[in-house]
C-alpha cells in the first residue's frame, strides 16, 4: 500500500491505461454483440455458427491471441490495438450468448402483443425486446468487464501498460510491494466496475424487482 502512496502519479497513470485498455473492448464488444446476439436468437443457422465459434475463441489463451494479433492485422507490436482487438473478440464471444439467451427469454405473449398493437420491427426491438433483455445482458456485461480487467494485465508481456506492467517490473527488480500494488489495483478496479454495472442495471431496470 505504501508503494501506491509513494508513487501516486505513476499508479494513477497505470490505472488510466488499464481502464482504457479494458473498457474500450467491452464497449465495442458489447455494441457488436447486440446485432450478433439478435441474429442468433432469431435464426438456428446463425446459432449453429456463432455459438461454437464463440466457444472456440474462448479456449484460445489470451497471450497467444495478443501475440498473433499484430501479425494478423499488421500493426506495430507495441500498439494498444494488440490488446483491444483480442479483448473485443473475447467480449463478443462471451456476450453473444448472453444477448441471444436474453432475447430468446422475452415471453412470446409479450412480443405477440407488441406485434398485435402495431409495433414495427425496429421500434419493437428498441423499446420492447432489448429493454426486457437488459437484466440478463447486464449480468453478461459484468462478467465480460471483470474478466477483461484481469486479462489486460497480460498485455504487459508484450510491453503494454496497465497494472501488468507493475507485475513485470516488480518481478524483475524483486520489488514485492510493486507486484502487490498491481494486484490491489486490479482487484479494486474490478470490484468497482462490477459494482457500477450492478448499480446501472438497477437504475435501468426498476421493473425487474417489482412484484417480489
Amino acid at each position: 500500500m505504501t508503494w501506491i502512496f509513494e508513487n501516486w502519479d505513476r499508479f494513477w497513470e497505470v490505472t488510466g491505461v488499464h481502464l482504457r485498455l479494458s473498457v474500450v473492448p467491452v464497449l465495442i464488444g458489447f455494441v457488436l454483440s447486440i446485432p450478433l446476439g439478435w441474429l442468433a436468437s432469431r435464426s438456428a443457422t446463425a446459432r449453429a455458427i456463432l455459438f461454437p465459434l464463440a466457444n472456440i475463441l474462448f479456449t484460445i489463451p489470451s497471450i497467444a491471441l495478443i501475440v498473433i494479433t499484430p501479425v494478423l492485422i499488421g500493426v506495430k507490436i507495441l500498439d494498444e490495438i494488440n490488446v483491444i482487438v483480442p479483448l473485443t473478440i473475447y467480449t463478443i464471444a462471451l456476450m453473444v450468448r448472453s444477448v441471444a439467451d436474453a432475447l430468446s427469454a422475452v415471453p412470446g405473449h409479450v412480443t405477440a402483443a407488441a406485434n398485435a398493437m402495431g409495433f414495427r420491427p425496429l421500434r419493437r426491438f428498441l423499446t420492447v425486446d432489448f429493454p426486457l433483455a437488459l437484466p440478463v445482458t447486464i449480468a453478461g456485461l459484468r462478467v465480460a468487464t471483470v474478466s477483461n480487467i484481469s486479462m489486460v494485465s497480460v498485455g504487459a508481456l508484450v510491453g503494454l501498460g496497465g497494472y501488468g506492467q507493475l507485475f513485470t517490473e516488480g518481478y524483475q527488480t524483486d520489488n514485492t510491494a510493486k507486484v502487490f500494488a498491481g494486484l490491489i489495483g486490479t482487484v479494486v478496479l474490478a470490484v468497482l466496475a462490477d459494482g457500477l454495472l450492478l448499480l446501472l442495471g438497477r437504475v435501468l431496470t426498476p421493473w425487474a424487482r417489482a412484484g417480489r
Binding site: 415471453p107 405477440a112 406485434n115 398485435a116 421493473w207
Partner: protein
C-alpha cells in the same frame, strides 16, 4: 363489420386450421367464436389483424380487404386482448395503456391522460397506474389488457380467451364488466372462448367451430340451445341445454305471498316461514313447529338463491335451491316481494313455447 369470405388457412405442415369460413360479424355487436381446442378459433381471429394471412379467401373490415393494408397500420386500429394479457413487464400500467396512442403519434401527456381515463373506465383505481404489471393480480392485469386495447378507441376489438386464466368469480366479474362497457362503447367485438357458458352469456351471436376448422353453426344463443344444427353442436352446448334455454326467456312468473317473521318476534309457525331483518331482507327459513316460539338465529335454515325477476332460469333456480321449494323474490333494495314456484316456471315455459318465443 367484419366479413370472412371463403377463408381458408392451411399451414405449411398441411394442417387445415380454417376451412372455407363464411361469416359476417355485425358492427356494434359481440360475436363469440367457440369450439374445442384446435378448431381454428385463434387462427380465424388472427387473420383479422394479419398476425396470420389466409391461404385463400378474403377478409373485409368495414368493407376494406385487410390484405391491402400495411399490418402495423391495420393493427393500430384493431384492439387485441389475449389470455396472458401480454402486458409489458418493463412499463408501468399507465404506460402500458398509453402504448397504442404513443405509437400513433399522440404526445406523451395526452396519451397518459387518456390512459388514466381508461383505467377508470375498466374499473381500476388510477393509483394502479404507477405500478408494474407484476404488482397486479391476474384479474387486474386482464383489465389493464382491455384498457390498453381500447386506448386508441379502435372500432374493432379482438379478444382471445381473455378471461380464461382467472378464477370463476373474477371471470364472472370481468364478463359483466365487458357487457357494461360494450353497452357504452358499442364496439365490434370478436371474442374467442372454449367455454360455452361464457359464449352464451356474452355473445349476441355465437359461431360454433368444429374440429378441422369448420363452422358448425352461427346463430343467436337461444337458437343454439333450442335448435342445434347437428349432433356436434348439440353435445357441445351440453346436456342441460333445455335448462339453459331458460336463461333467454323473460316470461312472467306469478309471485305468491309468503308468511314472514322478524328475528326476536314470538310466532306460531305452522308452515314454512321466511325470516326477514328490519329492512325486510331475507335471512333464512323456519320450518313448521308445534306451538309458539321466539325466532332466533339458531332456528334458521339457510335460504337458496334469490330471484331478481329477470330470467326464467333465475326463477327456477331460486325455487329449486330453496329448502322450502319456494324461490324468494326481492326488489332492487333486496326486500322480499314474494315467492315463486318451480311448477309456475314450467307453465311459463309452456306458454312461451306456445307463443313461439322459444326458437325452434
Amino acid at each position: 363489420m367484419i366479413e370472412f369470405r371463403a377463408v381458408t388457412k392451411r399451414f405449411e405442415d398441411g394442417t387445415i386450421a380454417v376451412d372455407e369460413l363464411d361469416l359476417t360479424v355485425e358492427a356494434g355487436t359481440i360475436t363469440v367464436f367457440v369450439g374445442p381446442s384446435g378448431c381454428g378459433k385463434t387462427t380465424s381471429l388472427r387473420m383479422v389483424n394479419r398476425m396470420i394471412d389466409p391461404t385463400s379467401g378474403t377478409i373485409l373490415v368495414d368493407g376494406k380487404d385487410v390484405l391491402t393494408v400495411d399490418p402495423p397500420t391495420l393493427r393500430r386500429g384493431i384492439g387485441y386482448v389475449i389470455q396472458q394479457a401480454g402486458l409489458f413487464p418493463h412499463r408501468t400500467v399507465l404506460d402500458n395503456v398509453a402504448t397504442v396512442p404513443l405509437l400513433s403519434g399522440w404526445d406523451r401527456r395526452k396519451a397518459r391522460t387518456r390512459a388514466a381515463e381508461l383505467l377508470e373506465i375498466v374499473g381500476l383505481d388510477p393509483a394502479f397506474g404507477k405500478r408494474y404489471p407484476a404488482q397486479l393480480s391476474g384479474g387486474q392485469q386482464q383489465r389493464v389488457g382491455v384498457a390498453r386495447a381500447l386506448a386508441a378507441d379502435p372500432p374493432v376489438l379482438l379478444m382471445d380467451e381473455p378471461f380464461s386464466a382467472v378464477d370463476p368469480v373474477v371471470r364472472e366479474g370481468l364478463q359483466d364488466e365487458l357487457l357494461r362497457l360494450q353497452a357504452e362503447l358499442d364496439k365490434t367485438i370478436v371474442f374467442v372462448t372454449h367455454d360455452i357458458d361464457e359464449a352464451l352469456k356474452l355473445g349476441e351471436r355465437v359461431a360454433v367451430f368444429q374440429t378441422g376448422g369448420h363452422l358448425a353453426q352461427y346463430a343467436k344463443p337461444a337458437e343454439l340451445l333450442s335448435a342445434p344444427a347437428n349432433d356436434f353442436v348439440a353435445s357441445f352446448v351440453g346436456r342441460d341445454r333445455g335448462y339453459r334455454t331458460l336463461t333467454f326467456l323473460h316470461a312472467d312468473v306469478p309471485v305468491h305471498p309468503v308468511d314472514t317473521a322478524k328475528l326476536g318476534q314470538r310466532v306460531a309457525v305452522t308452515d314454512w316461514t321466511l325470516v326477514v331483518d328490519d329492512q325486510d331482507r331475507p335471512k333464512g327459513w323456519l320450518s313448521g313447529v308445534d306451538g309458539e316460539i321466539e325466532v332466533s338465529d339458531q332456528d334458521l335454515i339457510a335460504g337458496g338463491s334469490l330471484y331478481d325477476g329477470s330470467t326464467l332460469r333465475g326463477a327456477l333456480d331460486a325455487a329449486l335451491s330453496s329448502p322450502s321449494a319456494l324461490g324468494v323474490t326481492v326488489d332492487d333494495n333486496g326486500a322480499v316481494v314474494g315467492v315463486v314456484r318451480a311448477d309456475d316456471v314450467i307453465k311459463a315455459l309452456a306458454k312461451a313455447r306456445a307463443a313461439g318465443e322459444v326458437p325452434k
